[in-house]
């Protein structure tokens, strides 16, 4: 509580007009830490605006969550710990990448399964068309066809 109040005061000092959102209000020890923070908030969804990440959103709630993420990072929490903290509260929806688990198997593997099925049918129909259309001639027609094919071009009585 006290910590977040202090953080809030700090943020007030740094966000002069607070009209536009910039990351300048957050202070980092190193460029690496800033990169990590940016990476984290770009993976997280703003729940109010839904199709924006925490990195891009101007929403008030997104600001709260950015502060929360920032605070946890300053406490030395790992990336995984922070993601778990948020998914415990907001569910997997807060993540842009859905986690791999039985309920999301269809999402992850569905497209590949569909492509596989389509490829199977395409290959099968290609193989079939190469083999030629199935014969639907009767036996006598078949014989006659064979005779015609056996006959060399240029007439019946001319030997080769």
């Amino acid at each position: 509580m006290l910590k977040s109040l202090r953080l809030f005061a700090l943020l007030l000092v740094f966000s002069a007009a607070a009209s536009a959102f910039t990351l300048e209000e957050f202070q980092f020890d190193s460029p690496g830490q800033e990169a990590e923070f940016r990476e984290l908030i770009s993976k997280l969804r703003c729940l109010v605006c839904q199709n924006e990440s925490l990195e891009g959103s101007q929403a008030d709630l997104a600001q709260d969550l950015r502060e929360e993420v920032y605070g946890m990072m300053r406490e030395g929490k790992s990336k995984e710990e922070i993601l778990v903290f948020l998914t415990d509260r907001y569910g997997d929806f807060v993540l842009y990448d859905p986690p791999l688990k039985p309920s999301t198997y269809v999402l992850w593997f569905g497209p590949f399964v569909l492509i596989g099925i389509a490829a199977f049918f395409m290959v099968r129909s290609l193989v079939r068309s190469r083999a030629g259309p199935p014969s639907s001639l009767s036996e006598s027609e078949q014989e006659r066809l064979q005779q015609l094919l056996d006959t060399p071009p240029g007439g019946e009585d001319k030997p080769l």
Binding site: S4, R89, G91, P134
Partner: protein
Amino acid sequence: MTEATNKKSSTLRFLVPLIIFGALAGLLLYGLGQDPREVPSPLIGKAAPEFKLPDLLDPSRSVSNADLDGKISLVNVWASWCGACRAEHGMLMELSRRKDIQLIGLNWKDDQADATQVIRMSGNPYQLIAFDPDNNSGIDWGVYGAPETFVVDRNGIIRHKHIGPIDPEVWQQTLEPIIAKLQREQPDPTSNPVR
């Protein structure tokens, strides 16, 4: 190939794409009916998050998990800046007459004077109002907008979350049946939710 199998395969050729199309259309239609703004709460079936906040109207008193014990509660997230909350206020006033449930307010990201004003002007449906201007507890409850309403059972377990205002239809079709079910459940003396 006999004529019968020939006929069968041509029917199949016609039916299979139709079935696939029907299934896809059904799936997409189902998706259309879903509200993408309703994010399901992962807290359902779990103990209400630990919280301790000052009461909006009497800051010397605090509101905490202990206030949820032994009663079926509706924890209603609201704010004076939220129009839909104003729309649901009348319904909450009506519900506040019921003796079998208690209404606990969670005044979220609000200004104390504005919030107090709303209560003074349009009545107070709540037994207690936890005041959370900085979203300290809201985050733990997974709140992402107002109004939101959590149904908490006698053991302090969150059983349902409703997103958006409660109107008579929501009440009759969704919330009342859940509460009636919770009424029938005997309070479990051995259950002590881990917090």
